[in-house]
Amino acid sequence: MAIDRIDGCIGCGTCVSTCPTDVIRTDPKTGKSVITYPADCQICHLCRMYCPVDAITITPEKSIPVVVSWG
C-alpha cells in the first residue's frame, strides 16, 4: 500500500477527483474521504499535493523514485 492514511479530512472531495485510479472514495456516512482500493494506488502523489489541508500521508518506504526525463 502506498497511500497510508487520511487525518483531518474536511470532505472537500479534491482527492477523490484528482486520483487517477479511483483509490479514494467519499464515505456517505461521514462525508469524508476514505481509502477504498489501496492496492490500486500508483503513488502519483496527486491526492497529497492537492489536498487543501494536507491530510493525506503516503508511506515513504513504498514510494517509487520519480522518473526524470533528460535532454
Binding site: D4, R5, D7, G8, C9, I10, G11, C12, T14, G31, K32, R48, M49, Y50, C51, P52, V53, D54, A55, T57
Partner: protein, 213 residues
C-alpha cells in the same frame, strides 16, 4: 495542590495545559511531517489547550489548581487570552502557509477550498467558533466602552465562552490531525469541566464583582 508546587505560580496550570498536551502529542501515532508543519501543529495544540485553560484562570476556576491570588490570575487570563486567541484566529491561514514551499495546490486556492467546504460539519463548527472567538476578543478589548455593566458583560462573556469551547472542542476532535483517543479524552474532560465550573460560578458560586478585577 500542595504548597511546594505553589511556590512558583501557575506550575500546575502549565503542567496541565502545556505539559500534558505536549506529552500526548509526542505519544500520538500521527505521522510526522516537515518541521514547519509540525511547529504549526504544536502551536495550534498549545493554543487550544491554553484556551481550555482560560476557564481555570478565573475567579470560579482557580480553586481547581490550588488557587492563586486573583490579580495574577486575571493578568495571566488576559495575556493567554489575547495571545493565543490571535494564534487561533489566524490558524486557518497558517495551515496553508507550508504550501508556499511545496508543489501542488496554490495556498490561496487551498484556503478558499477549506473555508468554503460547507458540507463539512467540522468546517461549519470551526467557522462558528472562529466568529465567536473574534466576538469574545473584540468585546474584551473594548469592554469599558460598551454600554453595559461589568456584571452583564461578564455573564455574556461566560455564555459566549462556553458556547465557543463546546464548538471548538467538537471542531478539534472532528478535524484535528492529532486528536486521537487520548487527546480527544483530554479535550472532552477539560471542556466539560470548564463548562461545569462556569455554570457553577454563574448559578451562584461567586458573588457578582462590580470592579475591574
Amino acid at each position: 495542590m500542595n504548597s511546594h508546587a505553589r511556590r512558583i505560580p501557575f506550575v500546575p496550570e502549565a503542567l496541565a495545559f502545556i505539559g500534558l498536551p505536549l506529552l500526548l502529542w509526542a505519544l500520538a501515532d500521527a505521522p510526522r511531517r516537515t518541521t514547519l508543519k509540525e511547529s504549526f501543529s504544536l502551536l495550534f495544540i498549545l493554543a487550544f489547550a491554553l484556551m481550555l485553560g482560560q476557564f481555570y484562570l478565573t475567579r470560579g476556576g482557580r480553586s481547581v489548581f490550588g488557587g492563586s491570588k486573583m490579580g495574577p490570575v486575571i493578568s495571566m487570563h488576559k495575556f493567554v487570552g489575547y495571545t493565543f486567541a490571535a494564534v487561533l484566529l489566524v490558524h486557518p491561514v497558517l495551515i496553508v502557509v507550508p504550501r508556499y514551499f511545496e508543489s501542488g495546490i496554490d495556498p490561496r486556492e487551498a484556503f478558499t477550498t477549506m473555508v468554503t467546504t460547507f458540507e463539512s460539519r467540522g468546517i461549519l463548527l470551526g467557522l462558528a467558533a472562529w466568529g465567536l472567538m473574534l466576538t469574545l476578543g473584540l468585546t474584551s478589548l473594548v469592554r469599558k466602552r460598551l454600554p453595559m455593566r461589568y456584571g452583564t458583560w461578564k455573564l455574556i462573556h461566560g455564555i459566549l465562552s462556553a458556547l465557543l469551547i463546546a464548538l471548538a472542542a467538537w471542531h478539534a476532535i472532528d478535524l484535528g490531525r492529532h486528536t486521537g483517543g487520548a487527546m480527544s479524552i483530554y479535550i472532552v474532560v477539560l471542556a466539560a469541566g470548564a463548562i461545569l465550573l462556569l455554570a457553577r460560578s454563574m448559578i451562584g458560586g461567586n458573588k457578582p464583582n462590580t470592579g475591574d478585577k
